[in-house]
């Protein structure tokens, strides 16, 4: 039986630039199953980030249907989308995007706190996750006291701490050096393999594409190739 986390059906998205409409996605359909380690790849402007934003309920499609764990995003209110993002979707951004006034611990904890998890349970989970991403002992550091790689690890910890249905990672290795990129990919692969976390990347980094077990290649807003690897 299918265990689809994300379903996109004939999704299109146009952006208005002045008087003209620029298509970013054209009739895109695909499904992401639970436990996948998949990547959307393609050149700049091919629609990768647009697709990720639509799945992440950060934007609405011009047409088509998107379902996350069976819930059709187009039918949800702004508040319901906010709750969906909080509870079922994890984000890892290219520029880390940690909250600068919060410590590593607080950044990793924030989604759990928003969910209203009990303090003791939050502490146990966050300490464990920070340990897993290799940041044990750095809990009280603020982002400006962490390297780029360490910040991205905190961002990953934040994304996985609440055990979302899917983690959307937009160019997660773009701002770090090769060695750090490999370590981050090792970490995400481990989380996928050991914890069953579902990952969907948007990337044009060959290292990410090499590790992805499913590669959706986008060209001009369409899925040009959907390639599964063992």
């Amino acid at each position: 039986m299918s265990d689809a986390v994300v379903v996109m059906e004939h999704v299109s998205k146009q952006y208005r630039q002045g008087a003209t409409e620029v298509p970013a996605l054209r009739d895109v359909s695909f499904t992401i199953e639970r436990g996948e380690f998949a990547a959307l790849c393609g050149p700049s402007g091919s629609g990768k980030t647009t697709a990720l934003n639509l799945i992440g309920a950060l934007d609405r499609p011009s047409s088509g249907i998107i379902r996350v764990e069976g819930r059709e995003l187009g039918t949800l209110s702004r508040g319901e989308l906010s709750v969906l993002r909080r509870d079922r979707i994890g984000f890892v951004f290219q520029a880390y995007n940690l909250v600068p006034v919060l410590t590593a611990y607080e950044n990793a904890e924030i989604v759990l706190a928003l969910q209203g998890a009990a303090a003791a349970a939050r502490q146990k989970t966050v300490m464990h996750v920070l340990d897993e991403v290799g940041l044990g002992g750095m809990e009280q550091r603020r982002p400006d006291a962490l390297s780029g790689g360490q910040q991205q690890r905190v961002a990953i910890a934040r994304a996985v701490a609440s055990q979302p249905a899917i983690i959307l990672a937009d160019e997660p290795t773009a701002n770090v050096d090769s060695q750090t990129a490999e370590k981050l990919l090792d970490l995400m692969e481990t989380l996928n393999r050991d914890k069953g976390a579902t990952f969907l990347f948007s990337t044009h980094d060959p290292r990410v594409m090499a590790r992805a077990r499913r590669l959706l290649t986008m060209v001009d807003g369409r899925i040009a190739k959907d390639e599964r690897r063992s």
């Binding site: 934003n53 992440g56 950060l58 934007d59 702004r78 508040g79 906010s82 709750v83 993002r85 909080r86 509870d87 984000f91 951004f93 290219q94 520029a95 995007n97 909250v99 600068p100 006034v101 919060l102 611990y105 607080e106 904890e109 924030i110 989604v111 759990l112 706190a113 928003l114 969910q115 303090a119 939050r122 502490q123 966050v126 300490m127 809990e139 934040r158």
Partner: protein, 417 residues
């Protein structure tokens, strides 16, 4: 134990991200607090003094008199100020003292001259300088004794005009209760100098028992019962309350009704102060708004991220409102710190305006004001200022907070790339 982020913690930390801007804004808030407290304190003190002085120069904060006395003052219009009524009035929670008085017009004459004057007949056992300021301004001789049927105290200028000195005889003539002209013989026991040209030229003090007898009054009959309150600000409400216990034909008037000139002056001064304070608060609000709005606009991308990870728009709104509140509280606390020394100095020493005004006293609507300007703020006015500062700061934060809550995550996240 590690603690998770709370909105108020995030807001507090956010406040100090741009330390210089926050310090400048807090300074402007503190300056606003200082201005408001000093202005209000000076106004409260000067107007309170004026009202109290006027009450002590005439017939109290609340005056009980015949209902038609104000329109047509006459010694024929009296009230029965018996002990029972005085006790009932004195039992009111705001009343400090009730004093019987007879006041009216007379002609004072000596062998050398005669002048029209106003008189206040009082009981030396019940009145003192706390209830009637001129009693503390006798510069020659002394006040007559209670059983002195002939005692009279004259204003300094009046005494000079009459050629009267302490111990000299003065004949005073007035119209009695029945409209007949009656005269009494007095012997000057004292001369007073109030500093008010009008009072010094036309004020006489007489023993109330002698005047009652001369006018044919009953044993408790008076033209006024002067009621002194613990706080002049409650005069209107107290007058309304006391008006319910006075006998038929009598009314209770607050100082503003008795002294409309002073009431007009007070209203103009209060309105002027309020306009200045509103202007100061408006300027402060503009500064705070600028700070909060800039702070929000600089963090749109961050707000987009917070929305992406599950912050609701309402929570973002509350975050910025918390920042406003912290700003207000820090500004208020700083304001108290910088205002306290200045306020204490103004309260204790004050500013001596003598050299600017060219005299050591000035008369305003019958009240002789000291030229040393001091500040004493009423506690409830201090609370209003504190609430106004916090309220204005919070209001200034409403639009920036709304703007933060309206951020579209996908647009905000694109910013900065």
């Amino acid at each position: 134990m590690l603690r998770g982020p709370r909105l108020y913690v995030m807001a507090w930390r956010n406040l100090w991200r741009n330390r210089r801007r926050t310090i400048i804004t807090v300074s402007s808030l503190a300056f606003g607090v200082m201005m408001a407290v000093v202005f209000t304190g000076l106004t409260d003190q000067s107007l309170g003094d004026a009202i109290d002085l006027a009450a002590r120069m005439s017939n109290g904060h609340v005056t009980i008199q015949a209902h038609d006395y104000r329109d047509s003052p006459s010694l024929e219009r009296t009230v029965d100020g018996n002990a029972e009524l005085r006790a009932r009035l004195a039992s009111d929670r705001d009343v400090a003292r009730v004093v019987p008085r007879i006041s009216g017009q007379m002609v004072a004459a000596t062998a050398s001259d005669s002048f029209g004057a106003g008189f206040v007949a009082l009981d030396p056992a019940l009145d003192d300088q706390e209830s009637f300021t001129p009693l503390g301004q006798i510069v020659e001789g002394k006040l007559f004794a209670r059983d002195d049927a002939q005692g009279i105290v004259l204003g300094k200028v009046l005494a000079h005009n009459l050629g009267a000195t302490v111990g000299k005889k003065v004949v005073y003539t007035m119209t009695d209760k029945h409209g007949e002209i009656v005269s009494g013989l007095g012997r000057v026991t004292g001369i007073l100098a109030t500093g008010s040209p009008s009072a010094d030229a036309a004020l006489c003090l007489l023993p109330i028992a002698a005047v009652r007898k001369l006018l044919g009054y009953g044993p408790d009959e008076v033209t006024q019962l002067a009621v002194y309150l613990r706080d002049q600000r409650v005069a209107e409400a107290a007058a309304r309350r006391l008006g319910r216990v006075v006998p038929p034909g009598a009314v209770a008037l607050d100082w503003a009704e008795v002294n409309p000139d002073l009431a007009g002056f007070v209203s103009v001064k209060v309105a002027g102060s309020e306009v200045i304070e509103a202007f100061v608060i408006l300027l402060i609000a503009a500064g705070i708004f600028n700070t909060l709005f800039m702070s929000v606009m600089e963090r749109l991308r961050e707000f987009g991220i917070l929305l992406a990870i599950g912050f609701s728009p309402g929570r973002l709104f509350r975050l910025v409102v918390w920042e406003s509140l912290w700003l207000a509280l820090v500004g208020l606390a700083s304001g108290v710190v910088v205002t306290l020394p200045l306020y204490r100095w103004l309260h204790t020493h004050g500013i001596d305006m003598t050299s600017r005004v060219g005299g050591n006293k000035v008369e305003i609507a019958g009240a002789v004001m000291s030229m040393v300007v001091r500040a004493t703020i009423y506690p409830d006015h201090a609370v209003v200022i504190a609430l106004a500062i916090v309220g204005v700061t919070m209001l200034s934060g409403i639009y920036p907070a709304w703007r933060a809550a309206r951020v579209q995550p996908v647009d905000a996240i694109k910013l900065g790339y």
